[in-house]
């Protein structure tokens, strides 16, 4: 209210400043002053009048709200009265006038209209679809030496809908923001992919997150699939994390007050998602820690490095085995370390025409426990490198190579899903991408897929679109 008065007074005084320019003699000036004073008084009186009305209406509304059952009707009436009064105040405070010259405008942006749905969250949708042609049956395609989760499988042949996502994002109050992301797979199963609250007001560079969210480990893990540089996840992400690890838990991040970017994070998860299962340790089955560092090298290039660690316990992790009618089961501990390096280049720091991004990640994985009740322990490694080059506006080319090396298994597990039959799973991928805008893209991706013993050729067409207010993407 005070603000409104102030604005009105300001406008009045602005008018007072402008108008004397047209007055030639003192008499005119005096007359105009008088007029202005009069207008000023009138407005003040009107505003005061409306203020009292508004106060009364607000009080009425409050009284009505606190009153019991039949109060709702009168409250609505009182509120609409308050609203009308508010609108009138606004009209008085900003009397319609000729648009004044640009540089004399005091204007803060106009206040948005008060309405019941003004605080709606930002709702965004992500759609994507595939056409896939694999020379071997995608369902039966294994990753040699690994028992993989459902999400790590190849995209089915022919037309299919990829994951469709709807997300809702908004500030909850001055201290928290909320994010909800629901995805539907191509068989119409809804899944709460992320649902978390995040602190926005912690001091000293801390942020706390709680709920279900994607872990901050590695480089790709925290990104939604639509934000990946290729149509699918690299082999290590498929084999070790079922494409990406998200679970229910809490996360604490701290950004160091240094000149280079230096961020520390730690997470504590329930441990219900691959590579965890069964919410071991009383529902605190997974812990992670990560460090991110990054800076500019010069105006054109920059880097980001990350070291991440995940420890989890799987209590009865079931994985589908295409060679057997019965699911495999793993109970035991997994330790996973990831080293990540990202390099980005854009001439003069302007990625509009040309830009290049290179990513390399190395994974160490240690498993210890019982697979199908047979004890084993082994160390695996995996890595990938990828580069994507935008050679002209809207067009990019990408290449990726990824490889896995599974550790030795005891003789008792020979012939099981953990047996790689002496074969290192690897895949080479080439990508051509056309962006219709920053909200839409088409991809053609070819993979020479040697993850199973016999090679497979996979061609993918993919479209991905985003619409609605969608947050900016990470580096």
């Amino acid at each position: 209210m005070k603000k409104l008065c102030l604005v009105a007074a300001l406008m009045a005084s602005a008018a007072a400043l402008v108008s004397p320019a047209y007055a030639d003699d003192a008499a005119d000036l005096a007359a105009i002053r008088k007029q202005l004073n009069q207008i000023d008084h009138e407005y003040r009186a009107k505003i005061e009048n409306l203020e009292t009305r508004l106060k009364k209406a607000e009080a009425d509304a409050k009284a009505a709200r606190t009153a019991a059952a039949n109060a709702s009707k009168s409250a609505v009436a009182a509120q609409s009265d308050a609203k009308a009064a508010q609108q009138q105040v606004a009209q008085v405070a900003a009397p319609p006038a000729e648009p004044p010259p640009i540089d004399s405008l005091p204007a803060e942006a106009p206040t948005p209209p008060a309405s019941a749905n003004a605080f709606n969250p930002g709702i965004a949708a992500v759609l994507n679809g595939f056409y896939s042609a694999s020379s071997r049956k995608p369902d039966n395609q294994r990753i040699a030496g690994f028992a993989i989760g459902d999400d790590a499988k190849l995209i089915p042949n022919g037309f299919s809908l990829g994951e469709s996502e709807i997300s809702f994002a908004a500030n909850i109050d001055p201290e928290m923001a909320g994010f909800l992301d629901i995805s539907f797979d191509n068989e119409n199963h809804p899944d709460v992919e992320e649902a978390y609250v995040r602190s926005t007001d912690l001091p000293w560079g801390f942020t706390l997150k709680a709920g279900r969210f994607l872990s901050g480990i590695g480089y790709i893990n925290e990104r939604h699939a639509h934000d990946w540089s290729f149509s699918d996840a690299a082999l290590p992400y498929r084999a070790f994390l079922n494409t990406q690890y998200g679970d229910d838990g809490v996360q604490l991040r701290w950004l160091a007050p240094t000149d280079i970017f230096l961020e520390f994070g730690a997470e504590w998860f329930r441990g219900d998602e691959y590579p965890a299962a069964g919410a071991a340790h009383g529902g605190q089955g997974t812990v992670t820690a990560f460090v991110h560092a990054g800076d500019d090298i010069n105006e054109s290039s920059s880097w980001l490095a990350a070291a991440s660690y995940l420890h989890t316990r799987a209590a009865g992790l079931e994985t589908d085995n295409p060679l057997s009618p019965v699911d495999d089961t793993f109970t035991g501990d997994t330790d996973l370390g990831i080293a990540s390096l990202v390099y980005k280049w854009a001439p003069g720091g302007n990625p509009t025409v040309n830009n290049f991004t290179a990513v390399g990640e190395f994974f160490w994985d240690r498993q210890k426990g019982d697979f199908d009740l047979l004890p084993f322990r082994r160390n695996n490694t995996g890595w990938y490198v990828q580069g994507v080059y935008q050679f002209m506006p809207q067009w990019s080319l990408g290449l990726r190579y990824s490889q896995l090396d599974s550790g030795n298994i005891p003789l008792s597990l020979a012939g099981s899903a953990l047996d790689d039959f002496g074969h290192s799973a690897r895949a080479s991928t080439a990508l051509l991408e056309y962006d219709t805008s920053e909200f839409g893209r088409l991809r053609l991706q070819y993979t020479y897929d040697q993850t199973d013993l016999k090679p497979n050729n996979e061609i993918l067409f993919q479209y991905t679109v985003i619409y609605g207010p969608h947050g900016a993407h990470r580096y």
Partner: protein, 301 residues
């Protein structure tokens, strides 16, 4: 876990102790960095996040920017969604609540002037349009005055001890600026009514100021790179309605405007668009001097 927390808290405490004497400014674009320096003088430390060679619509949310935003007391940005593709991510990742939208530490220049071309309908089919209106206000120097006033008030609010200093610098800037604008306006008189083509539809405030007449943009829709078919259409239009020259911002791809220039036999001019866009545009004053100088040169050819 607990050790980590304690360690982090200790580090934070260490870092927090040497309270910075100066107001730390994170300026999104060079023109707002330059204005912050004009108003803040030696009481502010200004970090400018982008250069005149970069497209302010499309900046990668680089780690270095996040690190700089972490310690900022105030962001001085254009607003009107110009930075929507990168700034929100930087602010979120900076874990710095001082500069969150709506806080005193978040300053948006476009909130203090009247924006032109406020769309009557919002539809992504229209290309890269801004809901609040055309954000490129810095192409008209007259816009600097209300922004400077608001910025001085904001600095004074955030750093009360130096309020008088900011106000007096603002008053001084206003005096020098008003004189400079009058001089530029007089110098640019020959440009009045000149028909021009523009690469990106980013110059309406300048056209408004100097009375330039924009015949056609080289982008079919804002932010959409032109196809060769569209450029042929532009050429046809230019035959019916000839223009004196075609302008682009220094950071923009030079091919579309150079192509049109060679076909229509007119000069293509790369204007600085912001401080540092050309070698001569070293500060706020030389930005407009160079802009007018370059366009007057275009008239002669």
């Amino acid at each position: 876990m607990r050790k980590l927390l304690i360690g982090a808290a200790l580090l934070a405490g260490l870092a927090a102790t040497p309270a910075y004497a100066n107001l730390s400014v994170f300026a999104c674009e060079p023109e707002w960095g330059a204005l912050s320096t004009e108003i803040g003088g030696d009481k502010v430390d200004v970090y400018t996040a982008t250069t005149g060679q970069q497209d302010p619509h499309q900046i990668q949310a680089r780690p270095s920017l996040i690190a700089k935003a972490r310690g900022a007391d105030v962001t001085v940005c254009d607003g009107a969604e110009l930075e929507i593709g990168w700034l929100p991510m930087i602010i979120q990742q900076s874990n710095n609540s001082k500069i969150a939208p709506g806080q005193p530490g978040s300053f948006e220049a476009t909130r203090y002037v009247h924006l032109l071309e406020q769309p009557t309908s919002l539809d992504r089919a229209q290309g890269d349009i801004h809901a609040a209106g055309n954000p490129h206000i810095q192409t008209d120097p007259r816009m600097m005055l209300p922004v400077a006033k608001a910025l001085a008030a904001r600095f004074a609010q955030l750093d009360g001890a130096n309020a008088a200093y900011y106000q007096s610098r603002e008053a001084d800037f206003e005096k020098r600026w008003t004189a400079a604008v009058a001089k530029w306006t007089a110098e640019a008189a020959p440009l009045k009514g000149t028909a021009i083509a523009v690469q990106h539809h980013a110059w309406i405030y300048m056209e408004n100021w100097l009375g330039l007449h924009e015949v056609v943009p080289l982008e079919p829709k804002p932010g959409v790179p032109p196809s060769s078919g569209y450029l042929a259409e532009v050429l046809q239009k230019l035959q019916a309605q000839p223009v004196k020259f075609v302008i682009r911002a220094a950071y923009e791809d030079d091919r579309p405007s150079e192509f049109i220039a060679s076909k229509a036999n007119i000069p293509a001019i790369a204007l600085p668009f912001t401080v540092g866009g050309t070698d001569n545009a070293k500060d706020l004053f030389s930005l407009y001097e160079d802009t007018i100088h370059l366009m007057l040169g275009g008239l002669k050819k």
